[in-house]
Every structure is written in structure tokens, then in C-alpha cells.
């Protein structure tokens, strides 16, 4: 109970969800609007994203930092794309492979990073959550609102798409790289 009281007595809580909301709602709307091209849908995506973030709020250690900024953008991009998918007549895999989120400039390594940045959004998102943010499949599943085996399959498809993209580039240059 002491911990509880200390928290209450601490006054300003740097990790408060309200602070996260105040800090990122505008940015998250901007990202969702870029994808959905519609204010109302973008607000729905932002709300869904905050719901997902709330569920996993313990994963956030600091509000105002690049890691959290990136994390909230990934989640809202995903939620915006989920809204697009509900309207799509494409199959799950076809949708994944043809839907791009925020356009990213190539990081400039002429290799794996450039290929990753050019992947469809859902592949790039799951790779970033796994390899940049360091979350394991069990943690990513509730963030994306899917089961663990779906995350595992998404990771496989993301890596396959990465390999394919690199192979296409290799063909153009007449070599095969190993990572």
C-alpha cells in the first residue's frame, strides 16, 4: 500500500496517460489523416490507437521521447490501415502486400534498411515493433489486436517480403547479398 500512497502523493505523474494523450493526439491525427484522407475516420483511428496504447500503457517508460513518438505513430498507422482494410475487398494477404502507410525516405544504406523502409506498412510496422522497439510476439499481439500466431505469420511474411525486395534489387545489380 505504501507504493500506492507514494504514487498518489507524488503529484505530477510523468507517465500519465493524459499527458501522452495531450502530447501526441495532434501528431496521431496527422498520421491517420494522411492515410485515410478523411477527418472523421482519422479521429476514429486515433481513438482506436489510444485504446490499444492504454491496454499496453505499462510498456511506455517515458512520454516525451523518440521511442514513444515512433511507437504511437506505428500504432495509429496500423489502426488507420485497419479501417481501410474493413472497406477493402482484397484478401488479408493481398491487402497487406499492397497497402502503404506513411511514405518514408530511404535510410540510405542501399540494403536492408532501404528495403525495410519501402515495405508495405503492416510489414514495416511489425518489424519495427519487433526489432527496433524490442517487443516479443506475445507483446505485439495485443498492440495490434490480433492473436500471437497471426503476429508470427505476419513476421514471416514481412521477412519474406524483405527478402523478395532485396532479391529484386540484387537482380538489377547482378549480385545476391546475405544478411
Amino acid at each position: 500500500m505504501m507504493v500506492y500512497l507514494q504514487m498518489l502523493d507524488a503529484g505530477g505523474d510523468e507517465r500519465s496517460f493524459t499527458r501522452l494523450y495531450d502530447t501526441y493526439r495532434g501528431l496521431m491525427f496527422y498520421v491517420a489523416r494522411q492515410i485515410l484522407k478523411n477527418d472523421e475516420d482519422a479521429e476514429d483511428a486515433v481513438h482506436e490507437a489510444f485504446c490499444a496504447i492504454a491496454k499496453n500503457f505499462s510498456k511506455i517508460s517515458e512520454i516525451n521521447c523518440p521511442k514513444t513518438r515512433s511507437y504511437v505513430v506505428i500504432i495509429v498507422e496500423r489502426k488507420a490501415i485497419d479501417i481501410l482494410r474493413k472497406r477493402s475487398r482484397l484478401s488479408q494477404v493481398a491487402f497487406e502486400e499492397t497497402t502503404y502507410g506513411l511514405p518514408l525516405p530511404p535510410p540510405g544504406d542501399h540494403g536492408l534498411a532501404d528495403a525495410m523502409a519501402a515495405l508495405p506498412a503492416q510489414y514495416r510496422e511489425v518489424l519495427l515493433l519487433r526489432y527496433e522497439h524490442g517487443y516479443v510476439v506475445r507483446e505485439i499481439a495485443p498492440m495490434l489486436g490480433v492473436k500471437q500466431d497471426a503476429v508470427q505469420k505476419l513476421l514471416w511474411r514481412a521477412k519474406a517480403a524483405l527478402r523478395k525486395k532485396l532479391d529484386e534489387e540484387d537482380e538489377a545489380y547482378g549480385e545476391r547479398r546475405v544478411f
Partner: protein, 236 residues
């Protein structure tokens, strides 16, 4: 070749770090993102913020204690697979096992009525009320004895399908199905007396679930529970 062996883990980490930098580089600064959100959005977010605030208070107890009762909105994630364990006679509520916890699920639609106000007509000697929160979704209060470092929380909310009270007992916890003031109740007693025991009371007539989480003896917890009385029914 296994599909995971496409790439070296370190190479993927390096590539992800660079891709993340690219992602951050395309995002606008805070000034470019100011926006007046719609009333509809603000109302939805206000609900979420209130619920998240309640969750945080209880989450803090969890970090200290062995068991806790938390109430989270369905919107905070219920896409989980449950295995039914018990069902109330009137199917108003269901007690289910989920992983290492017990979840209480309710079938009623959310009530639009304001929560009635209950009060405690008995508390253990030396306890002082330290915290109280009350909104249209839930009520919670926290009592603490500074000398003995013992305390208890009382929480209640409507039993409707917008809430998912969950008890996460520690290993060695025993569960007793009992009654308090004629209402079905579950008592979760931890093996270690220093940990928090939890009493859940399901008042089917009032459609309200109460919980008491406390690091005090069982008799005192039941005594508190038996002294929860209705003090005010708000006009809706």
C-alpha cells in the same frame, strides 16, 4: 531453411533502427499538428481517460500486492479466449478462468444511471480515508493506517458488459465461494499474510459488483463488507 533464418537478428535490428529514424524524420513538429477535435471524439476520449485513470490506480496496487481487482473497459481489449468456469444461476454474471486470473463477465448492457453512493458504517480502528474517486462508471476509496501500514480499498461499479473485473491471485491463493449480506461472494486469500486478500461481492439485486482489497485479516475484511450500506441514490 526455416523462414526465420532469412536474416541475421543483428542486421534486422540495425536496419530497423535506420528505418525508425526515417519514420521520425517525416513526422511534423508539434506546432504543425494542432487541431480542434470534434465533440464526438472528445467525448469518447474523455471516457477512455477516466477509465484509464481508474486502471492506473489499481495497477499501482498490483505492483505492491499479490492480488488485485481491476476494472477495464471492453474497449481496452477483450479479444481474448476465455474458458468458462462457473456461471451464475441467473446468467447475470459469469466467473471465468483466464490464464492465471479470474475474470467476472457481465451480460447486461451498460446502465445509463448514475452509480448510487454507498458508505461504510464500520472500518478497522486507526484507518483513515486517504483517497476517493467517484464518477459515472465506478467508485473507489482507499483507507490506510499509517502506524500499522495496513490498508484496504473498496471499489464498486455496475455489473454491465462495459467492465471486466479481474482478480489475479498469486500462487498459493485459496478461493472460497461464500455469501455476504445474502449476496454471492468470492474470497481470495493469499498464502502470505503480508499480501493483499480480495473479497468480491456480487449484488445481483442492485446490479453492482463490490470489491475489497486489503492487507488485513479475513474477519476484518468481512466485517467491512457487511457494513457497506446504501447512503444515496442519485436522481437520474
Amino acid at each position: 531453411m526455416a523462414r526465420e533464418e532469412f536474416f541475421d537478428e543483428m542486421a534486422l535490428r540495425r536496419a530497423a533502427a535506420r528505418t525508425n529514424e526515417s519514420l521520425l524524420s517525416v513526422l511534423p513538429g508539434p506546432g504543425a499538428c494542432e487541431r480542434s477535435f470534434s465533440e464526438r471524439f472528445l467525448a469518447k476520449m474523455e471516457k477512455l481517460l477516466k477509465r484509464q485513470s481508474n486502471w492506473r490506480i489499481r495497477h499501482a496496487v498490483l505492483r505492491y500486492a499479490a492480488a488485485i481487482l481491476i476494472t477495464v473497459s471492453l474497449t481496452l481489449g477483450t479479444l481474448l479466449v476465455f474458458s468458462p468456469e462457473a456461471r451464475a444461476s441467473l446468467t447475470q454474471w459469469v466467473r471465468e478462468k483466464y490464464e492465471n486470473g479470474i475474470i467476472y463477465r457481465f451480460h447486461n448492457e451498460p446502465s445509463h444511471k448514475l452509480l448510487p453512493l454507498y458508505e461504510l458504517t464500520w472500518i478497522p480502528e486507526g484507518m483513515e480515508q486517504k483517497q476517493i474517486h467517484y464518477n459515472e462508471f465506478s467508485y473507489g476509496t482507499f483507507y490506510y493506517n499509517d502506524e500499522t501500514e495496513q490498508g484496504f480499498s473498496l471499489d464498486y461499479s455496475y455489473m454491465d458488459n462495459s467492465s471486466l473485473p479481474t482478480v489475479i491471485p498469486e500462487e498459493g491463493c485459496t478461493v472460497t465461494h461464500t455469501e455476504v449480506n445474502g449476496c454471492p461472494a468470492d474470497f481470495y486469500q493469499m498464502l502470505d499474510n503480508r499480501n493483499t486478500n480480495v473479497l468480491v461481492i456480487l449484488d445481483e439485486d442492485a446490479n453492482i459488483i463490490f470489491s475489497i482489497a486489503a492487507n488485513i485479516d479475513k474477519d476484518s475484511i468481512f466485517n467491512i463488507a457487511e457494513h457497506i450500506v446504501l447512503s444515496k441514490t442519485p436522481k437520474n
